[in-house]
């Protein structure tokens, strides 16, 4: 239980997808013009991460890594398929997003309408692939599927916090006197930098 809480807090604040690793920046900058769209996008990212990280964890441990295919038979001990990781992870992500899109369309057409084009675009959000790749890289910290799910959930929540935060700030600065060349994109970069500095205060925390 202690491990799970550690992973959860670590992935939200200390290893924040946006401020520590700059993943998902494109949609972060493009979708954060209003808080409403940011909340929708953030929620979708949390959901997709929660589903794809454990699935890719299973794939990694039972198919891809060295010696993973041992359950097929003794002779498969030395088979190392990890070079296929990228294509397998992205295939899982693309299909999961397609599945999520179909489920949302069936059960909540209103939500589907409001998310619009952003739902399929989540497939190429680097935060999603990044989540799976980090899970693969940190195999000593993440040792079972529950931990993988908690890692996915935490990473998603961290991204959600970041995008809703910047959207709220952007809504407010619309009425401020920003120099013309900095208006819009430029000032958003600088503010994100400042938020990054603020999140650095979590850096030294050892859990």
């Amino acid at each position: 239980m202690q491990d799970l809480v550690n992973i959860f807090i670590k992935s939200i604040f200390i290893d924040n997808m946006v401020f520590a690793y700059f993943l998902g920046m494109c949609s972060y900058l493009a979708v954060s013009k209003t808080v409403k769209t940011s909340v929708g996008m953030g929620a979708a990212v949390i959901f997709v991460l929660c589903v794809t990280v454990p699935t890719n964890y299973l794939l990694e441990n039972y198919v891809l890594k060295e010696g993973a295919l041992v359950w097929l038979g003794e002779g498969y001990e030395n088979v190392d398929l990890s070079f296929l990781s990228f294509i397998m992870f992205i295939a899982v992500i693309a299909s999961m997003v397609q599945l999520v899109e179909m489920i949302i369309e069936k059960f909540s057409p209103a939500l589907y309408g409001s998310l619009g084009i952003f739902l399929p675009l989540i497939a190429v959000n680097c935060a999603i692939l990044g989540g799976s790749l980090f899970m693969q890289e940190r195999s000593d910290d993440i040792t079972n599927i529950t931990e993988a799910t908690v890692f996915g959930l935490g990473s998603g929540i961290g991204w959600f916090l970041a995008i809703v935060g910047i959207a709220a700030i952007r809504e407010k600065i619309r009425y401020s006197k920003v120099p013309a060349p900095l208006r819009g994109l430029g000032i958003t970069f600088i503010i994100t930098g400042l938020m990054g500095i603020a999140f650095m205060s979590f850096m030294g925390i050892k859990l």
């Binding site: 700059f22 990781s85 994109l185 430029g186």
Partner: protein, 215 residues
């Protein structure tokens, strides 16, 4: 009506190469490819390797998708594009691991993240699906240069001010700036300063080119 054979480097084609350098820069105007522009610009060498790798994938993917453009059904086009890009990135990753292993270790997950580099997907969707192979190649090349120069610019300042070196070569030490009292600015090496540096580049770019200012 017979089609005029357009010169290989006609004015329209040259525009494809020059637009992404300033007017339609993938990072500062199209807002694509930001993640890698911030994450691996701590030093010049990985930034250059990343720019070249992503550039190669950009050009080749553009050509391949453009050649297939009439065969891809619209419903599955994202999956087809992702497969093309992923295959190319696996190739590039293996080449990097073989020839520049130390840099590929530094780039770690970010080589894989070239797959989700929005510039590549963005240009495939916006250009390669509707244009001929040679023009798509030029578009990929132009965007690769536009992306590359921003990466090199940010990495230049971050490495110079943050560590006093360029490509590992101790420039500031040889210029005698340490004796004058300059200390390595540790802040520049940290992630937030990359964001501020790009913000300043955007500021300068829009100040020089007034028509890029957002209303």
């Amino acid at each position: 009506m017979s089609e005029q054979q357009e010169a290989l480097f006609s004015k329209k084609n040259r525009k494809l190469l020059s637009d992404p350098l300033d007017d339609n820069n993938p990072i500062t105007i199209q807002v694509l490819g930001i993640c890698s522009a911030l994450a691996i610009t701590v030093q010049l060498k990985p930034a250059l390797v990343m720019a070249i790798s992503a550039g190669v994938v950009m050009c080749v993917a553009n050509v391949i998708v453009s050649l297939m453009r009439n065969l891809i059904p619209s419903r599955i086009r994202i999956i087809v594009q992702l497969v093309v890009i992923a295959a190319l990135v696996i190739l590039v990753d293996q080449i990097l691991k073989a020839f520049v292993y130390d840099v590929s270790k530094e780039l770690s997950v970010f080589v894989g993240l070239i797959i989700t580099n929005c510039i590549i997907m963005g240009r495939l969707e916006a250009f390669a699906l509707a244009n001929k192979p040679w023009r798509s190649f030029l578009d990929g090349l132009g965007n690769a240069f536009g992306y590359g120069w921003i990466l090199v610019a940010v990495a230049f300042f971050r490495e110079l001010l943050g560590a006093g070196t360029l490509f590992g070569y101790p420039v500031l030490e040889n210029l005698g700036l340490y004796d004058m009292g300059y200390e390595n600015n540790g802040m520049m090496i940290l992630p937030p300063m990359a964001l501020v540096t790009v913000g300043i580049i955007i500021w300068i770019q829009r100040w020089k080119n007034r028509k890029l200012i957002e209303s």
